[in-house]
Point group: C2
Chain length 210, copies 2
């Protein structure tokens, strides 16, 4: 039983939670200071270095957690779809739930995707890339199951993720009503892309699913 190690982990967690807590629509990760984060976590500024070599290292740990949450989201959505069908609708609903429950984690990823630090951009893009790849696999699987071939499924997945992430971002500061409008909008957009891709597959007479 390693009491010391446990305590260290607890402090590390407190630091990460402190950063998350202080982020909001008006406070990006980039505007946090090491001293603020340490203060909110209840430790001396100098103790920060027992856990991370710099503030960005803490940020990357948060991006990692964001990636984990994304993978959970995907698994969750798959299970739900297997139960009640309606892939697009279920996916959007699941995504919006995840968004509400992890809003600051999502904010971080969204800001840093176009943000100032190359390290961050690369890390966030890798997480999203992984998500896109899994989605593309699912799309191909559905296409086979339903015998409705898709054109460029990888590209379809990318477009869908771009739309859901970027427009989903608006939900972070939206009222429940606005969120519902947003959901319907996203569902229609994804439907258009899916239909468009199916038509392109048809018109490329030889039914390549790619």
């Amino acid at each position: 039983m390693s009491t010391r190690a446990e305590q260290k982990l607890r402090t590390r967690r407190a630091l990460m939670d402190s950063a998350l807590k202080q982020m909001s629509a008006d406070r990006g990760f980039g505007s946090l200071s090491l001293r603020e984060v340490a203060r909110e976590a209840g430790i001396a500024p100098t103790s920060f270095y027992r856990h991370f070599s710099e503030l960005d290292e803490l940020g990357l740990a948060l991006v990692d957690e964001g990636g984990v949450a994304l993978r959970q989201l995907m698994r969750h959505a798959r299970k739900r779809i297997a139960k009640n069908g309606s892939a697009i609708s279920t996916s959007i609903e699941t995504f919006m739930e995840y968004l509400s429950n992890n809003s600051n984690l999502f904010r971080l990823m969204l800001q840093e995707k176009t943000g100032v630090s190359k390290t961050f951009r690369t890390a966030v893009k890798a997480e999203i890339e992984h998500f896109v790849t899994e989605l593309a696999d699912d799309l191909r699987r559905f296409a086979v199951e339903q015998n409705k071939p898709l054109s460029d499924s990888r590209l379809v997945a990318e477009a869908m993720v771009t739309l859901v992430f970027n427009q989903g971002a608006e939900a972070l500061d939206a009222t429940p009503t606005e969120k519902d409008v947003l959901k319907e909008k996203l569902k229609t957009e994804l439907r258009m892309i899916l239909i468009g891709s199916q038509r392109l597959a048809l018109s490329a007479k030889s039914g390549k699913t790619q």
Copy 2:
């Protein structure tokens, strides 16, 4: 002939150019300091206040310029389309040109769209909103001209702009070959959305163009 006023404008320009010059993939507007901007513009830090009351005010002036560039882009694209048809392809080509010629202005808008300051986010969103509205008008016009009704043209415009802006962002740090790949990808994506929207309009039997 107002020499003094002209000189003042020249200094103001120098300040804005200084900010643009120092922004890059690794330097967001948010990481600039008033003193740096003044230094690069060749004036004393205190002189900055003769032109802007704070750094953000300069930033908003830049966002304004970004908006002007977007409107020019749109007019330019319209003229080209009138000449050689092929709306999607021409639009993407024009957009990518604009992007190359105004990369830091675009960077600013892209970063601040999901950025830290509410004032900035609102200003950028207003510019993009305007762009979307104009695009939706064009889409409706084309739909009538070609007698191919569109479903939810406003939403189609929004999806297209989201895709072009966010995936276009990758072109900022891309090689020419990568840019070509990106262009083709975007063209296919827009085509899918357009086709999807047309199919939705058809299946809503009464041919509402909305």
